[in-house]
Point group: C2
Chain length 208, copies 2
């Protein structure tokens, strides 16, 4: 097997995905995101699962071009965000989940670390994009903070995976009227959250 | 929605998975791994995809109990490994992918960073478990190093995801006769690699 450059392999992978999608007509603003999630998971279910609120992608691109803080609910999602692309956008990706004082506060209040993390993020005085691939409580906390007028995210990427409270938390985000990209149903994950952030970064700052 | 402890949610999730699996009979050594991968992906395809070489799980548990180095092909997979469980096993998880000199060497030789990373790992003088969720070239390089007698992994977790060279690289691992756990087909990912490592750690060092 000959050596192939990573970008060539990525290009070929997207060609295969496009071919296998066949005649499906995709919204051009959503297409690169849907295809990147399929590229990350090899799971064509995301063709049907991904929900985009009207104008969400446009607002996300604008936010990334102006620079923002991307808040994740796992270190894994943060790790998966392309560093070079992030640098171009002068944005930063942060995650409070491993902070010791977050763990202490969560324990003291009997809530999850993800919930405490979202509260902390809400007080950052910068434009915010949230990317949750793990914790339903991250999304439910965000919905509460939005209702209370305590945070106004530019975008919520709501893609936790799992079997308990997951579907409900994602539907709550869709109902919240905040710009969102959501993987409806049980599927998602930190890898999917990172893939969506990367797709948006590559749209805002095209690679050669 | 009331607050539920993360461990309670995990327990309930596994109950749902068990219920939905129905009457399927699983090998008791493989069952916790298959269920954890389904838990991580909400994708029941892994019931059929996961291949275990004979005795692979037993040898992995022994290796983890004695302490080893777990080498990943992405920072994302490394991030996803449970820190507390890792500490109990006195093992460490490492990833060379972001090292600048790895990038330089890869560029100079016209090979992937993943290939260089595997070569570096091969020279670590400790028992090794490899967990690759991304790069087919990581697996192909390992197969070559094994053939050349330069490395003798205790286990290869071969679960790259994708459309180009992925299936072939995973089948090459299965043919190599090294103890392995492989996600056959296109599916896999850094999240799956981390989930398999965590399942093994929880088997070797049961949580309360």
């Amino acid at each position: 097997m000959n050596y192939q450059k990573p970008m060539d392999i990525e290009k070929k992978s997207f060609e295969i995905i496009t071919k296998e999608l066949g005649d499906v007509e995709l919204n051009p603003m959503e297409e690169p995101i849907i295809k990147r999630v399929i590229h990350t998971t090899a799971d064509f279910d995301y063709l049907d699962n991904l929900y985009f609120s009207p104008g969400a992608v446009e607002q996300a691109l604008e936010t990334l071009k102006e620079g923002c803080v991307i808040v994740t609910d796992t270190q894994m999602a943060r790790s998966g965000i392309n560093k070079a692309a992030l640098q171009k956008s002068e944005s930063e990706a942060i995650c409070f989940m491993s902070d010791e004082d977050v763990a202490e506060e969560a324990k003291a209040r009997g809530i999850t670390r993800a919930a405490v993390s979202m509260e902390r993020a809400a007080s950052i005085g910068k434009p915010l994009i949230f990317a949750a691939g793990n914790a339903p409580t991250a999304l439910l906390t965000l919905c509460r903070l939005i209702e209370e007028g305590k945070v106004s995210p530019k975008l919520i990427i709501g893609v936790p995976v799992g079997f308990v409270n997951v579907v409900e938390s994602k539907e709550a985000v869709i109902r919240s009227d905040v710009p969102c990209i959501v993987a409806r149903g049980r599927k998602g994950g930190s890898n999917v959250a990172a893939a969506i952030v990367n797709a948006l970064l590559y749209m805002a700052f095209p690679r050669e």
